[in-house]
Subunit: 205 residues, 2 copies
């Protein structure tokens, strides 16, 4: 049985509304935190009813989980995918970190990186929301570490580099860049991040 055109249109409208809610919620959460987003405030910001919002997500936890997934999609589009055009190994490793700094500079979200905030906000609060944030964090650190391994294996980085330590340092640079940029709102803080990155990886400025 195929849905009639009306049903199809309604379903498409529902998905568009859901997407608009999530984009707004990611933006709001980047400022007030995942726990700070209230269904009431979000409904107000979007000009829809609270009951309409409940119809889409049911509970605040479901909303939070959907927000994390949406933030993950946005991060993948803005930071991970652009670097995939570059060669695996060192070029892509540098590219992904620089794409992150560019992403901050474009001020895609008003509160900087959603995940940097979410990791520190949710780290000490066990539950499904923390697990979803942890899954993203592990995925991202895993990509960084794999690229570092490739760069070491191909001789683009010294053989005595350890990918686990390097991935730790690079994710530290990403967190520090986010913290400094949101605190100062000054793009010069991102130049420090870019120079530290290139210096650490032995790349000419």
């Amino acid at each position: 049985m195929t849905a009639n055109p009306n049903e199809k249109r309604q379903r498409a409208d529902g998905l568009r509304t859901r997407h608009a809610i999530l984009v707004e919620a990611v933006s709001l959460a980047s400022v007030v935190g995942l726990d700070g987003i209230s269904i009431g405030e979000l409904a107000k910001a979007l000009g829809i009813s609270k009951s309409g919002l409940y119809a889409h997500f049911g509970t605040k936890e479901n909303l939070q989980l959907a927000v994390i997934d949406q933030a993950g999609l946005m991060f993948a589009t803005d930071v991970i995918e652009p670097a995939e055009k570059l060669d695996p190994g060192l070029a892509r490793l540098v590219g992904i970190c620089e794409a992150f700094f560019d992403y901050l500079e474009r001020r895609v979200l008003p509160g900087g990186c959603f995940f940097a905030g979410a990791v520190l906000e949710m780290g000490s609060r066990p539950g499904p929301v923390k697990e979803r944030v942890a899954a993203f964090q592990n995925m991202f650190v895993g990509i960084i570490r794999e690229l570092a391994d490739q760069a070491i294996a191909s001789g683009q980085l010294p053989a005595n580099e350890e990918s686990e330590l390097l991935a730790f340092e690079l994710t530290g640079m990403i967190l520090a860049a986010d913290a400094n940029f949101v605190m100062t709102d000054d793009v010069r803080s991102l130049d420090v991040a870019r120079r530290a990155l290139r210096r650490r990886l032995g790349i000419a400025h």
Copy 2:
């Protein structure tokens, strides 16, 4: 005019209560964030009345500012002062970072480092609370940078190191150590931090 013994005792009791409130509030804020601490929840945790709590701080913003100052005192006692016994320059630079990792490992606060969370929570919310957090962050980064300058000037670190970049990297390691430790609750994540630090600064393991 001198206060009579009763007045003195009352004032001392008041200061003790205020201190107990702030210690509890720093602990709570490390988990739920500076904005997450509610005067009601705090009063409940301490077994005192909300009006009693209001009498000490007046507004939530005043409470938040006092919590930041208390967290700063605790951080100075646990992280900065122990390293002051070490020689200025490289030894103290390593010491202060290691004191931070040890501080996390001792689980002094249930949510890891108060300031790592506060910087990312408050970064995009202008106002006196953000300014107070920024003042602490600038003070801490300033200490790290000064120690790096001393280590470079005395030849303990290579002359081509730049203290601004190194301070950025080391504060990144501190943020990443906090993020990884609160997420995993696994002390092995701190060993990664310790090894990355010593490797970066060219110190034997």
